[in-house]
């Protein structure tokens, strides 16, 4: 038995350094963005970073654990409402509202996930779709709490106290830096999760749940925890949204939000660390670019999606990965290939 000569090359030892270098360069460019682009583009980038949080959550549950949840928009909305209600009824500040929103979304996911995660594949998807319908109905009809279609207005802007000085985030560049900071922290948390031993269990469940179970992995428990974590990511995103827009209405539970988050993850690259980041900026860039033709906007949007699906079925992240792989090999004298790999596997081939 022998391996073929076109076996993929072993990764370059420089690859991690190149990845971190490119990531820091992108972060540096983002830090400089408010100095060089106008508020319109900053607003677009703020939205893309807000959507990055639920997209990380969906990537965790769909990309890494293999379960398609259409309820990500629901938890985004729950986070937005939780944050708004906390601020309005208890006068709490941004930080408490933000933390509460993520925690509350995760807690709501617990009783929903216990029955839903007994289901497999399409039944689970249908169940999460049902949650979207229920959430819309509750937001519209529980008027005493949500004010129905009128929504909740007057959500406070984030305030930070430094001694006697209180700084209120009002201008878009300030929002940009605040949300950039949260997005970076969320991305680091996401990376830590998928690189932890639990991340390996998630991939195992995605690849073969029965095999994972046969190796001692309590798959249902992991799926429930991942469902709650993905809800928490979405809840945090919803809180940012509420404090940025300062208004929350039942529209936040529209299927549009779940679809948007799904498109971000699929377009960026499912099950890849950079997928949601690329997807969130790409999605906003496409949406904004198509504003030049308002009449044909949605048609062209659909066409762009079809082109993306056919040309890049694994999303845009593999392109970026190829670029980083290429850069990591530039200047290396000897290609790191395994073309010399001879016969393996048999008793005489070791």
């Amino acid at each position: 038995m022998s391996i073929t000569l076109d076996s993929p090359r072993a990764p370059s030892p420089r690859l991690p350094a190149v990845r971190w270098g490119l990531s820091l360069a992108c972060l540096g460019a983002l830090l400089l963005a408010p100095q060089v682009v106008d508020n319109y583009f900053l607003h677009a980038m703020v939205l893309s970073m807000i959507f990055l949080l639920p997209a990380h959550g969906l990537n965790l549950i769909l990309g890494y654990t293999g379960m398609l949840s259409l309820a990500q928009g629901v938890f985004f909305g729950i986070g937005a409402y939780a944050s708004a209600l906390m601020g309005i009824h208890f006068g709490t500040g941004f930080v408490i509202n933000f933390l509460f929103a993520g925690l509350f979304a995760a807690l709501v996911a617990l009783p929903l996930g216990i029955p839903a995660l007994r289901l497999r594949a399409t039944s689970f998807v249908m169940c999460t779709l049902g949650l979207v319908v229920i959430a819309q109905a509750v937001a519209k009809n529980w008027v005493d709490l949500t004010r129905g279609d009128m929504g909740l207005s007057g959500v406070s802007r984030p305030k930070f106290g430094f001694g006697d000085n209180v700084f209120t985030v009002v201008q878009i560049p300030h929002y940009f830096y605040l949300i950039l900071g949260v997005a970076v922290l969320a991305t680091l948390a996401f990376i830590a999760l998928v690189r932890s031993p639990a991340g390996r269990c998630m991939v195992a469940i995605r690849d073969n749940e029965t095999l994972a179970e046969s190796l001692g992995i309590p798959t249902w428990t992991y799926k429930l925890l991942v469902f709650m974590l993905s809800a928490a990511f979405a809840g945090f995103g919803g809180s940012l949204y509420a404090h940025y827009e300062t208004v929350v209405s039942p529209l936040v539970f529209q299927m549009y939000y779940s679809n948007t988050i799904l498109i971000i993850v699929l377009g960026g690259g499912l099950g890849r660390m950079s997928g949601a980041i690329i997807g969130s900026f790409l999605f906003v860039a496409v949406t904004e670019a198509l504003r030049i033709t308002p009449e044909l906007r949605m048609v062209l949007y659909g066409v762009v999606l079809l082109i993306l699906v056919f040309m890049f079925p694994h999303g845009m992240a593999p392109l970026v990965e190829r670029l980083t792989d290429f850069l990591s090999r530039v200047g290396l004298k000897k290609p790191l290939e395994h073309s010399d790999a001879g016969s393996v596997g048999g008793p005489h081939g070791r």
């Binding site: 038995m1 991939v203 195992a204 095999l211």
Partner: protein, 261 residues
Amino acid sequence: MGDKQVSAPVMLSVRGLRKNYGGVPALQGVDFDIPTGQICGLIGPNGSGKSTLFDCCTGLQASDAGQVLLDGVDISGWPMHRIAREGRLLRSFQKTVVFQTMNSEDNLILAGQMASFPGVTSTFSLGGASRARVTALRERARELIEISGLSRVAHLEAGQMSGGQQKLLQFATMLMPNPKLVLLDEPLAGINPVLIEKVIESIQEANRRLGITFLVIEHNTDVLMNLSHRVIVLHQGQKLADDTPEAIVRNSAVVEAYLGG
């Protein structure tokens, strides 16, 4: 060979195991004991209930009646992951299965992970204790990769490896968490003669050096008779015979039902 070890303590004891699929009986009250440290063969015609027996012993399927004792502990009704983690009973599947998108090292680390970490929540940590556990698992994984002859393809995702390489990886996976009992479902199916020798050597080595007990389903009866200390024969969901390989090949009922003339 087998009769010398009959007095050994029992690793797996199956009592009155029954399983029906709808109205069709797959197992009709099967009883047998697997002594600790032995390699036992399990043979029988297609549909005799061999794989169902594996499924019921490992918790993949719930039995309708009966008892499964592992090292003296009643594991009937335990979920599959608990049987693997606490009982240290592992199994392979008829079709070779590995985690396709992980390389060999990650496949093996994963196999040993749940035995190394105290609980689910501890696996979410990237702290020092967690890193130390993963480092120890990585070292053992590299040893097993070397022993299995998979070093040159270790960087590949398992899905990119050949069927034979995946078979070797699957076997190494079984050894990773230091199991007490391993159930192998047709480990020699679909592999070339050179690799058959390699797999047999690996089973014997693991049995001799690590003291792992094996129960092996295999249709290659010549190989199985040489490999096993004892052989159990199933026929139409019932135990037809349970004896040494020498006695099994002389058993007229077994010859008529399975081995043929």
